[in-house]
Symmetry: C2
Amino acid sequence: MLPRGRPRALGAAALLLVLILIGFFLFGGDLECERREQGGPGSFRCSLTPRVPPDGDLPADHGGCNRSDCVPLRPLPPKCELLHVAMVCAGHNTSRDVITLVKSMLFFRKNPLHLHLVTDAVARNILETLFHTWMVPAVRVSFYDAEELKPQVSWIPNKHYSGLYGLMKLVLPGALPPALARVIVLDTDVTFASDIAELWALFAYFSDEQVIGLVENQSDWYLGNLWRNHRPWPALGRGFNTGVILLRLDRLRQAGWEQMWKLTATQELLTLPATSLADQVWGSLLGGGGQAQGQGEMAVSAQDIFNAIIKRHPGLVLPLPCIWNVQLSDHTLAERCYSEAADLKVIHWNSPKKLRVKNKHVEFFRNLHLTFLEYNGNLLRRELFGCPSPPPPEAEQLQRALAHLSEEDTCLEFRQQQLTVHRVHITFLPHEPPPPRPHDVTLVAQLSMDRLQMLEALCRHWPGPMSLALYLTDAEAQQFLHFVEASAVLSARQDVAYHVVYREGSLYPINQLRNVAMAQALTPYVFLSDIDLLPSYSLYDYLRASIEQLELGSGRKAALVVPAFETLHYHFTFPNSKAELLALLDAGSLYTFRSHEWPQGYAPTDYARWREAQAPYRVQWAADYEPYVVVPRDCPRYDPRFVGFGWNKVAHIVELDAQEYELLVLPEAFTIHLPHTPSPDISRFRSRPTYRDCLQILKDEFHQDLSRHYGAAALKYLTALQQPEAPQG
Amino acid sequence: MLPRGRPRALGAAALLLVLILIGFFLFGGDLECERREQGGPGSFRCSLTPRVPPDGDLPADHGGCNRSDCVPLRPLPPKCELLHVAMVCAGHNTSRDVITLVKSMLFFRKNPLHLHLVTDAVARNILETLFHTWMVPAVRVSFYDAEELKPQVSWIPNKHYSGLYGLMKLVLPGALPPALARVIVLDTDVTFASDIAELWALFAYFSDEQVIGLVENQSDWYLGNLWRNHRPWPALGRGFNTGVILLRLDRLRQAGWEQMWKLTATQELLTLPATSLADQVWGSLLGGGGQAQGQGEMAVSAQDIFNAIIKRHPGLVLPLPCIWNVQLSDHTLAERCYSEAADLKVIHWNSPKKLRVKNKHVEFFRNLHLTFLEYNGNLLRRELFGCPSPPPPEAEQLQRALAHLSEEDTCLEFRQQQLTVHRVHITFLPHEPPPPRPHDVTLVAQLSMDRLQMLEALCRHWPGPMSLALYLTDAEAQQFLHFVEASAVLSARQDVAYHVVYREGSLYPINQLRNVAMAQALTPYVFLSDIDLLPSYSLYDYLRASIEQLELGSGRKAALVVPAFETLHYHFTFPNSKAELLALLDAGSLYTFRSHEWPQGYAPTDYARWREAQAPYRVQWAADYEPYVVVPRDCPRYDPRFVGFGWNKVAHIVELDAQEYELLVLPEAFTIHLPHTPSPDISRFRSRPTYRDCLQILKDEFHQDLSRHYGAAALKYLTALQQPEAPQG
């Protein structure tokens, strides 16, 4: 029945309901507080009753309730309040973790967020590119240089350089902007299963004295006496876990936090000098003190210092409900928390074993984590309702450009694909940049999942640096990760940079991928190859020698052509020399590349001359020429309008010629194309007339742009093309 | 600070918190109730105040609250209470929708669920297989035959047969088990964004009189007067939407529901005979009455009848908060609901345009929906905490079998893969079973994403029925769907059945896939092929003629061998006859299949004899023989222990020979293998010694089982194999 004409009753009911909601968000689910003696086997629950006087009455400002069926009034964060989150992130692997954490946070969030990321150079590079291309509305990201903070914590003994990053949580009150009063601090190994606003709402529970909100440890580590002479750092009972922290930055600054923690740490280090390495390793496994550092080396952790401070000043801490930091270490006591909770809010993978931790419910938690590992991050580009959450300026520009496209345009699909800003995760796996060498060359290529099996062979053929763009979904990126881990050949290579470009749209954005890989190459020269081609074993050395010999470094503008061949056999013995190659060619086991379907693509290389050549020779550009070349890293980009199949390399060679690069064929260089199944884009090209029509339109537009840019000099490209078209790629 | 020694205070606080929680789950977020006059432009909110007297006081049994800052006591569904959900589902497309809906429901649920599915034969077949293989703990599924319910609704005028399914919501009180008192009824086009227990909890709000809980319509359809002579069915104001219904089945049965709705429908049909087709089409677009039926044909909907009943008996309905059914039709008024809500609970795609509906926030909703479309359903196989939720018996058996495996076993990965029960979605796309014909043959094959481009060619070569198993992730299954929709060739074929087997594990379960495809073939014979082979254009007709001629139907046990050839060229003109094929063979453009790498696999076919043969000829089994054959559908299954690459077809031919199938080579039949990139499994086979070792172990075990089963007759297979091994597949 629809209630009408009872506004007063409804108003009262409405108010009532708002109160309920508020109450729920504040308390979050499991707030009973009970704690047995240290180390006892009893019930383990988390406490949250900071201001409740012993008799159970709440003060008047909590709503004036004095009955057991009433709820105190407490503010939820206003609907569109900006929530601040801080994380410390260093290195390639931790950057991947942070992204998964952020995905889980964004999935459930309903508020604008400001992420404060303390990063090393590697993480900053990765995350800056990622967030820039992700374009999530209502997310702001600020970076803070971990290098600058190091001196403040580097005096604390650490077995390993990277241990310093963990300690940086201690210096956040000074590092974050002075105007920032409150922040949630997260370890990178947590996963959200709920809206972070519910966590933020717990700030309302801080008493005037309290400055830090923490969940109790769900391990017995800090209780001590796990074995003879087990002497952990001092803590209140089981101590607190610092994977999830609510920090009142304003009060910490007022209270002289910097002095406080430095004094505590210094004093404890003096009285507890003998904390053994072994102890800390164990502590880490048990989810207690210590901190995983590379190969199991441990050190004093921020958690140790936080706990030592709290032991001295117990009034500083607001204990949080355990469901906000469910700790999944090997011997975790977390089950006492989650088995009674209706709900879990944050999962913390605080064992060095991470997802391989032994725990009878780990499957459940792992599935939650995998959900976000595999989650399509593009789906998180959604606006917030009712909050003014303008998209980033780039996103708005993009929206306008897309809105400009005509639904009638033959090339609509192509133009949409060209405009798409793909989320990019550069150096997805650990990567050592090559040492600076003046003639060094990076192999540049792009691939999708169906070409992964080429990687090992490529590594065997090219011992130098590579920059590869991979076009993957989030789930495929995880499969790729496992693929590399399972391969001894790939795992051994630190000089191969893998850049994941996340899939979006129906056409393969081949030139955008090439540009990503090229932009990330760190050597002065790049070898622009394709994933199906295997270079001769000596090519890397030979190219570097040639670059030096030809004095390309001294301003000579040249593209070195690497002649391409192809085999039609999967089982194929790769020639060890030019002589062997020529023998195979004569025997009909090899062909010059695409000599049947697309001769004009490679014929200008002049294979007959190459057979005999002893020195590099110059060739002239001709229509549709698309050789594989070595060029300086700062050469023109590929034209991103060519997506899918067709003319993508050709346009780049035209551009090189227009910019007056000499085309020099190297007499000892060669690369061989292996057979593969036609890509879906090739099948489309063959089956759809509009695909060809559109390619023609794009080529025309390319030539118009060329004329605009190079004037009369570009005329030759147009006249050269007054010939019938043949399929190519 | 940890509170100790204050148990009383804590107890009181605890009770208080429980109350808050209860309150939250009951109210859910947006419960304000206000409603302007019909058709007015004002605020649109949903009402939920059934038992609040005008003065705003709640009765004593609600907790005795009488102040605006108090919460009434209301029970949440007990933690492990079984929740019942009913849906009507018919056909292939709706089955896919239901699965996405169920995924969203399972993602957020924390209670055991019992799904009551009213299905036609197609949906039952699909969903029974799916749930059986999904093995989600704490989910029970019951099926009800829609055929049996049809007579109860078939008297209501319907332009189209399928309109009857929508009406079946009306007969649920009689169709569901008499002991079932309460059920949530859902349309198949809704997506959950929250825990269904919160919806279930609203049952506690029913007054003694109320029997149906519904959300108001978020369109002006039922207000009438949208145009001249617009006469919708009668409704209270905007009427209610029946996409989400809470039904008190017990009370409906008591109240004589069947008589009530039949009487109402009959009377309204008499007084409103002229409801035009056009009106109903519009009504559907506007999210009002009517119901999409195939090609836009409309009819009287269950929603019309529910609303007519409610108009007569307004006391029967409990209006639910609008967030429980956010209706996304073209001119939806839903924004008035969701723009003020903190949260959305259920999204309803109640436009025939579904995800292509025009709505300024559709991107947001679409992303939520895509989340579950693409979500890896395997991750939902998670137990409930704290609820006794034993997995299905098959799952327990599987757990035991997996637990039996030794971590040291060389073949651990193979055995895990073999034991894996893959989630299977049969007939993923609409499919017409072939008419029963005694000599008909289904082509059986399996593939993964990287072979999709073979499908069109295969359709051109094989005009008969096909049963194809596709090994995909959930996200890939969506890509596959789009691939088929974009292809005119594939869309035109209703006789190709696609069975999705969801990916799990690291090895390609080739024989499990073949078995799925074979089990789903509906003709008496199957042609066991592979996806990379294209049959001769006439093969389908020729095979049927041969089967008839050879009188296979009359008990003759034979496998018809289709000789296989291969080409190494992507660009390849397929021979139109045996003569053309032989010419290509002589010209060296074609080879007999695998003659170089694995001659023993096909040599026993005796290609020399085949050249000259005019009639079928018998050949003898020999070691490693693995021809492509046509066999009766009830022939032995493939051995699922062979996963990945190697010996998977060989073992099947051994099994056929052991069961005394004649091997008859057909003189005019041929099939040609096209080149493709080596699969990751082949690459692994080549690169890993353990892969080969393990394959040898599996072969030995296969032979042991063969001896056990066939006794001395199986000896010949062992002796035949006393030769060195070569790679094969």
